[in-house]
């Protein structure tokens, strides 16, 4: 899964690499080097670059006017709104959850810790469609809570809350997964020192822990946000596909495609692609800053 990546600031240093290249024993012949490079680059071109270009070519096939009409269509705008709303709710929730979970796991010993770590990973291992179905079984009219919800006139699935819930579920592990190794590596010493110097709980968190984890945290938030906006499977199951009301951007792309409005479908898809590109740029910037921060602390020690 995409989210299983972990940032490793140490590998960014290039000093190790030059030494590796300079030694005859570890140096590869140019043929091997260029073959490996060629294989990976052609893979990249065929499987990533070409589809990306295709999205934009198809989107603009019928001209800018069709492109803009597709994006300013009321149904498309409402899909944008809903997608943003789901992300705006899911990201802060998972931010708070991720930090507390990582904090608990990295800084404390308790029973069931491994069980908790496994649970956090659950959304990665469960198919998103199953995740959606779980919510239908729990909140559906014939589900466990269905009759109670209907009595109180509350709508969860086939409405905005269901979409938000599904989004929260699939983006659940990103922040926590990013922070746990980072916080474990950092250990408890700095916090202990702060406590000895008289800081109380929140001060320790605000002035010691948070500055240490901020780049990892930001990285997790970026991943969470990207997934929240791009999620299809789980959201598709709980959406009900009411255009203009419960369609997110990925679902809107599907509807347009099924209606033979290919230019419009690709126009909306290009929005998602642009989002991915922006995410990538921010991600590399964060990685760069994190590597710098890491180097500074390393040099200082």
């Amino acid at each position: 899964m995409a989210g299983a990546t972990t940032m490793n600031p140490g590998s960014a240093g290039s000093r190790g690499l030059t030494r590796f290249e300079a030694k005859a024993a570890t140096r590869e012949s140019p043929l091997v080097k260029w073959t490996i490079l060629g294989v990976s680059l052609s893979f990249f071109a065929i499987f990533l670059l070409m589809p990306l270009i295709a999205v934009f070519v198809e989107a603009l096939r019928k001209g800018w006017e069709t492109y803009l009409t597709a994006l300013t269509d009321p149904d498309a705008l409402s899909a944008v709104k809903l997608t943003l709303l789901a992300a705006v709710i899911a990201v802060p929730l998972n931010l708070v959850f991720g930090v507390s979970a990582a904090w608990a796991i990295a800084k404390f010993e308790f029973r069931g810790k491994h069980f908790l770590i496994t649970l956090i990973d659950l959304p990665f291992s469960v198919s998103p469609v199953i995740a959606g179905l779980i919510y239908v079984l729990v909140f559906g009219a014939q589900g466990w809570l269905g009759p109670w919800l209907a009595e109180h006139d509350l709508k969860v699935i086939f409405a905005v809350p269901g979409i938000v819930l599904a989004t929260v579920f699939v983006t659940f592990p990103f922040v926590a997964r990013e922070l746990i190794p980072l916080m474990e590596a950092q250990g408890r010493e700095e916090e202990e020192a702060a406590v000895v110097l008289g800081a109380h709980g929140f001060q320790v968190f605000w002035h010691v822990t948070l500055p240490n984890i901020k780049w990892g945290l930001l990285y997790g938030v970026i991943l969470t946000n990207a997934r929240a906006m791009g999620e299809f499977g789980a959201v598709s199951v709980v959406s009900g596909h009411i255009r203009g009301h419960t369609n997110t951007l990925p679902l809107h792309v599907e509807i347009l495609y099924n209606e033979y409005q290919f230019a419009a479908a690709f126009a909306v898809a290009s929005l998602l692609a642009l989002l991915a590109l922006v995410t990538l740029v921010i991600k590399s910037w964060v990685e760069h800053r994190a590597a710098q921060a890491y180097k500074v602390t390393e040099d200082a020690s």
């Binding site: 009900g240 255009r243 099924n258």
Partner: protein, 336 residues
Amino acid sequence: MKTPVSKLVRGLATVLFLSAGAALAQTSILNVSYDVSRELYKDLNPVFASQWKARTGQELSVNQSHGGSSKQALSVAAGLEADVITMNQAPDIDILVERGGLVAADWRKKFPHNATPYTTTSVFLVRKGNPKKIKDWDDLAKPGIGVIVPNPKTSGNGRYTYLAAWGYALEKTGSEAGARDFAQRLFANVPVLDGGGRGATTTFTQRDMGDVLVTFENEAILIARELGGNKFDIVYPSVSIDASAPVAVVKKVADKRKTTQVAEAYLNFLFSPEGQEIIANHYFRPRDPAVLKKHVTRFPAIRTFTVEQKLGGWDAVQKHHFADGAIYDQIVLGKR
């Protein structure tokens, strides 16, 4: 730290409040329908909304949701708040009578023609020039032919295809064993079962899979004449099934949302000459004889049979063919 958080919360609350407010400002009804009726209702809805406004002064928006018909019916049963459902086969409405009494048991009597505003039938769409010479159901069961149909378990469209083939073979071989053998050979030629009719169409037209797509006449004409870019031909088999599309008010939802009146008016509009005209323009066979006569050139004569005439009605079909472990399951399992 406190201010930005409370600002965010307040902002969120405003967004939620505003979207709720916008939803309350006007009447809306939701039409949950099957997969290949998208274009029809996209055309019908604004016409009805303006009629409704002229009659009552009320702003109305008709929302639509489409997918494989049985899947859609199950969504409604699970709580998707449809005011009306417009399906392509009666079992998808009957299931809402059984599950939670969402639809009145006598829904067939609420509107003319057993509450079916139009019919269509299953026909073949083949690649231009019909390179594989596909003429009738027989040809679909020949080895080496790729047949694209939507999943009969989740889509009425696929179910009609299965039943049409069954009816054809029953006539030809005169025995149930013969029909079963024929259906088995036909479904052995199906490489992929999409969830709904439109999914099957894109598999055939966009992904270039298969030699023949079996789908509703309206979908076939739409692709052959308008959307497919002149790359396909339609073939009418010697006999096919009468696919009448039933409609109903989802009583429980409409009662709760107080939309019964507008929901009934909406469905009645489908039977009005104006509604029938739009229906005919989307290549569905209208019920109104005058409208049908006007568009008769669009609809070649084809001999059809109904589920009641040849297959003992929907209840029998359901039990005999589509229940878990029944004939359809046995056929598809036998394929592996």
